[in-house]
């Protein structure tokens, strides 16, 4: 197994085709690793052992018959925000603890028909609201690099699972940084595509104009392969974009000579931990060595991205979460006295504190008298930020910088004041507001803890981002490091 967990997806596929090992063996081995890691990491909410082995067996049959493609028989974990038919889909919440999804999310269906084998559902911050995976009804996830620390959030389970090599691939979602930030804190590669690139159908909504489904893997090369199968227009999602999906793997080998890299002066501010900055700057040096030219750019409105986000996202979530009322599915309070009691207690008991905070914030900023001052204002600031990015991308091809201000922090360290937690997203939120693709790759360590480098591009420039990331990963081996105890 130790050898298998170091392989790229391409190598795994080759090994399966060459019958060096079977998908069933692969799945079984990972399921054992998951079981062993669960008490320490708590990275998964549900393990689908029997279904996984059955799917793996079917994949083996397909491979044997010469059918199947580059992802057939490859195991993966789905963030528990994606509806998986016949399997509990909890969204990290008591509200959906008893919810068996009656359908597959489009992302799930696409990866299933690509032959991938689902091992289980990853733990996450409740309803994707959080940056540390501490708000989950199922308990916090721990960082495989140091179990006292958070893995990041909201896709903490996905990032921790891939970092600990419990699966080579985990799907994830990013609304304000929830793929990139945990990827950075766990030392793995996380990709948030352009808004509308990946279907949101079946991806339980938090903030509809910000949510995007993406992927966490050990390398850009692996991400390219999976993203290709995930992405694409979906007639069930009105916000998905009808635009062909390129073969993201085809461009990977391209040279970076002439790549214009922008460094946001606003991101290299006093909020950025000095050690983190050192690692980032060293990584940027690698890019320079590969032929990229670096220059400073400024996005004057970007410091407003956190305030804007904390109006828009709660507003949308307050409405999206109104359907959780104990009537048609999900949690219902015991013996409701009347309708009002049914609603108030079901929602009061079914949701955790952070979710309730955001619902209330959202309700407030949309209410009569406050709509213009908050919601409308935030959407205008959003446009300022999007315009800033657009202007910058006329001069540069990509923007690079830190993903997070610090490495992973202790569990419980930032839960007292929500604002301190919110400020973790300070570098990632802008890309969500503008709908831009962005990824994070490991670029060094501060002590024993990984540091992530963020790369942001213009709309639909996933190829460019993945190419740049891949080039870096051919020059360095940060992405191949495995947390001690998980080798």
């Amino acid at each position: 197994m130790a050898a298998l967990i170091q392989k790229t997806l391409a190598e795994l596929a080759a090994g399966l085709r060459g019958k060096q090992f079977s998908s069933v063996e692969l799945a079984r081995g990972l399921l054992e690793r998951i079981e062993a890691a669960q008490p320490k990491l708590n990275a998964l909410i549900t393990v689908t052992r029997d279904a996984a082995l059955a799917a793996a067996a079917a994949a083996d049959r397909d491979i044997g018959a010469g059918r199947g493609g580059p992802l057939t028989g490859i195991p993966l974990i789905h963030k528990d925000i994606f509806c998986t038919e016949g399997v509990r889909t909890s969204c990290g919440s008591r509200m959906l603890d008893n919810f068996i999804a009656p359908y597959d999310a489009t992302v799930v269906a696409r990866l299933r028909s690509a032959g991938m084998v689902m091992l289980g559902k990853a733990n996450m911050d409740e309803f994707a609201m959080g940056s540390s995976n501490e708000t989950s009804f199922y308990g916090p996830v721990r960082n495989p690099w140091d179990a006292r620390l958070v893995p990041g959030g909201s896709s903490g389970g996905s990032a921790a699972a891939v970092a600990a090599r419990l699966a080579p691939v985990a799907t994830a979602t990013d609304t304000g940084g929830s793929i990139r930030q945990p990827a950075a804190l766990c030392g793995v590669t996380g990709v948030k595509p352009t808004y509308g690139r990946v279907s949101r159908y079946g991806m339980i909504a938090f903030a509809s104009s910000l949510d995007q489904g993406g992927i966490i893997t050990a390398s850009a090369e692996d991400a390219a392969l999976v993203l290709r199968a995930m992405a694409g227009f979906d007639p069930r999602d009105s916000t998905s974009v009808d635009r062909p999906v390129p073969d993201y793997t085809a461009a990977l080998g391209r040279s970076l000579a002439g790549l214009k890299v922008g460094l946001l002066e606003e991101f290299f501010d006093k909020g950025l931990d000095a050690d983190n900055e050192r690692q980032i700057r060293a990584a940027l040096g690698v890019f320079a060595g590969l032929g990229a030219s670096l220059r400073e750019v400024s996005l004057p409105s970007i410091p407003l991205s956190v305030p804007a986000y904390y109006v828009v996202a709660p507003a949308e979530c307050s409405s999206n979460l109104a359907r959780y009322d104990g009537v048609r599915f999900g949690y219902r309070c015991r013996e409701p006295r009347d309708l009002l009691d049914l609603y108030r207690r079901t929602r009061g008991e079914g949701f955790g504190a952070e979710v309730k905070r955001r619902i209330m914030t959202g309700t407030y900023v949309l209410s009569t008298g406050y709509y213009d001052a908050y919601y409308l204002k935030a959407q205008k600031v959003r446009r300022l930020i999007a315009n800033d990015f657009e202007r910058a991308f006329r001069d540069v091809d990509v923007i690079m910088g830190p993903t997070t201000p610090t490495p992973a922090f202790e569990i419980g360290a930032k839960t007292a004041d929500p604002i301190t937690m919110y400020l973790n997203d300070i570098y990632t939120i802008g890309a969500n507001l503008a709908g831009l693709p962005a990824l994070s790759i490991p670029c060094g360590f501060v002590g024993k803890l990984p540091v992530g480098l963020q790369i942001i591009g213009p709309h639909f420039a996933e190829e460019r981002l993945l190419t740049a990331a891949h080039a870096f990963q051919r020059e360095t081996d940060w992405h191949r490091r495995i947390p001690p105890g998980y080798e």
Partner: protein, 481 residues
């Protein structure tokens, strides 16, 4: 009913269910009367993770309506969420349109009782989804929710507050009802809830500029009830104000059994709907070419058709209005005239009279009419050529209606042919005169009133078949000689 000191101000909000096959945001069927929750898919149920996708036919229907009322069709309109909690609203919000609706402005002309035409402005019309239904009976302390109706497309049509009486309100409501059926965008079936009306009613002193406080009367679902509910409410408001009270702005329900409106136990309380643009839907952009194409597909509209009937067939505006109230009835009429081109006015009288009564009595729609236009035209022809009299024609009509046979066959079989032979009529007259010597003597002595008696006797003796005009003429001659 309007107190002379007070002016009534009414605005109507009509919800027309659009006659699409599938729902506005999902692929569920929209047929009425299915078993509970058998037409509610995951999108309708508001399940986690589902998303709305807009039905193009609903858009088309809204555009049709906008063009038919001369409104501006918005090149770009936005869907917004109206947020509130109620069990028949699965998502906890209704997808509607708020600041930028698809149709803005427009007007409809209504015909008042005195024959005058009044133009009623329409503020806007927008697309939205319908909610489900709650059942409160027979469930032992619970209410049962059926979401079959949730997601059915609605067009909400809002009039300007320009209606000044219950009668005007009904005329406007009927006009809208006719129009949406003409356009085939709504079946107008009020019993099934496909056409619903809320009335906003207020009063103010005559001559006052400011509007009074209004109340909303919800879901009045027949023309008759709308009229009665508004009349009651106006009376109630006047009474309150005249006794020094104030009108509470509230929602009221009409109770048809008691004939009164009463305050609804506030379902919405002080509801803040927190409208915002729905992020799951993109702006609806309509190209001019699309709007032009819909415009080209509009049928002849009721007003234009009525005007044409007046000009072409010489009908009164009133009759033209009755005939064009339904597209099918107007088409039937024109088909009858096509077969009996010399009889447009007689045709109008028979279609709006006997035919309409028979359809009503047998609860039939004109589309289920057992009397094809050509057959009715045949009857008109027999009246025109004096084969039968008007009175007997009614008997023939009933027989045609019931048996499905042609006029000629029935006339022949029943021997109803009008007697027009002067000699034959003369013989009947002479028989009657012979049988009634006393009355004859009285008449000849000067009792002119007895003329009617002799007419009656001749008609009776001829079993109604004698041509009345000839009877009159010949009687005059023979009685006087």
């Amino acid at each position: 009913m309007s107190d002379r000191n007070w002016e009534t101000v009414i605005g109507l909000e009509i919800h027309a269910q659009l006659a699409t096959r599938s729902k506005i945001f999902s692929g569920s069927p929209t047929t009425y009367g299915a078993s509970p929750n058998t037409q509610a898919d995951l999108v309708d149920l508001g399940y986690p993770g589902v998303l709305p996708v807009l039905n193009g036919a609903a858009v088309r229907m809204a555009v049709k309506f906008g063009l038919a009322i001369g409104a501006r069709v918005a090149p770009q309109s936005i869907f917004a969420r109206k947020n509130y909690f109620y069990p028949d609203l699965p998502k906890g919000y209704q997808i509607s349109q708020y600041e930028l609706p698809i149709v803005v402005g427009g007007a409809l002309d209504i015909l008042l009782d005195d024959g005058a035409v009044k133009r009623i402005g329409i503020t806007r019309a927008h697309l939205e989804e319908d909610a489900g239904k709650s059942l409160h009976e027979g469930l032992a302390g619970s209410s049962g929710i059926d979401l079959n109706r949730a997601g059915t497309p609605l067009l909400e049509i809002v009039s300007e507050p320009q209606l000044r009486s219950a009668k005007e309100a009904v005329a406007y409501m009927k006009k809208v009802h006719t129009l949406v059926r003409y356009l085939e965008i709504c079946d107008g079936n009020m019993q099934e809830g496909s056409f619903r009306c809320d009335a906003n009613v207020s009063v103010r002193p005559q001559g006052a500029q400011q509007l009074g406080t209004r109340t909303e009367i919800k879901n009045v679902n027949s023309f008759r009830f709308v009229e009665k509910a508004i009349q009651y409410e106006v009376g109630r408001q006047i009474e309150v104000l005249e006794s020094g009270g104030r009108i509470v702005q509230e929602t009221r329900l009409y109770d048809p059994d008691r004939g009164e409106t009463r305050s609804m136990r506030t379902k919405e309380e002080a509801n803040d709907y927190r409208y915002f643009p729905d992020p799951d839907l993109l702006p609806l952009v309509l190209a001019p070419s699309f709007i032009d194409e819909v415009r080209a597909s509009l049928p002849e509209l009721p007003d234009a058709k009525a005007q044409r009937f007046v000009a072409h067939y010489g009908l009164t505006p009133y009759d033209a209005g009755v005939l064009t109230a339904s597209r099918e009835l107007a088409a039937y009429y024109e088909e009858v005239v096509r077969h009996a081109p010399g009889e447009p006015i007689a045709a109008a009288h028979w279609v709006t009279g006997e035919l309409a009564a028979a359809l009503n009595r047998d609860s039939l729609d004109v589309t289920d009419n057992p009397l094809p236009p050509a057959r009715l035209a045949g009857l008109l022809a027999r009246m025109a050529d004096a084969t039968i009299s008007g009175k007997l024609a009614k008997e023939v009509f009933e027989a045609m209606w019931a048996s499905g046979r042609e006029a000629d066959a029935i006339i022949e079989e029943k021997g109803l042919k009008q007697i027009t032979d002067a000699a034959a009529i003369g013989r009947i007259i002479e028989e009657v005169m012979a049988k009634n010597p006393a009355q004859l003597a009285d008449y000849r002595a000067g009792k002119d009133k007895l003329f009617g008696f002799f007419v009656g006797q001749v008609m009776k003796a001829s079993r109604g078949k004698a041509n009345p005009a000839q009877v009159n003429e010949l009687l005059k001659t023979k009685l006087s000689s």
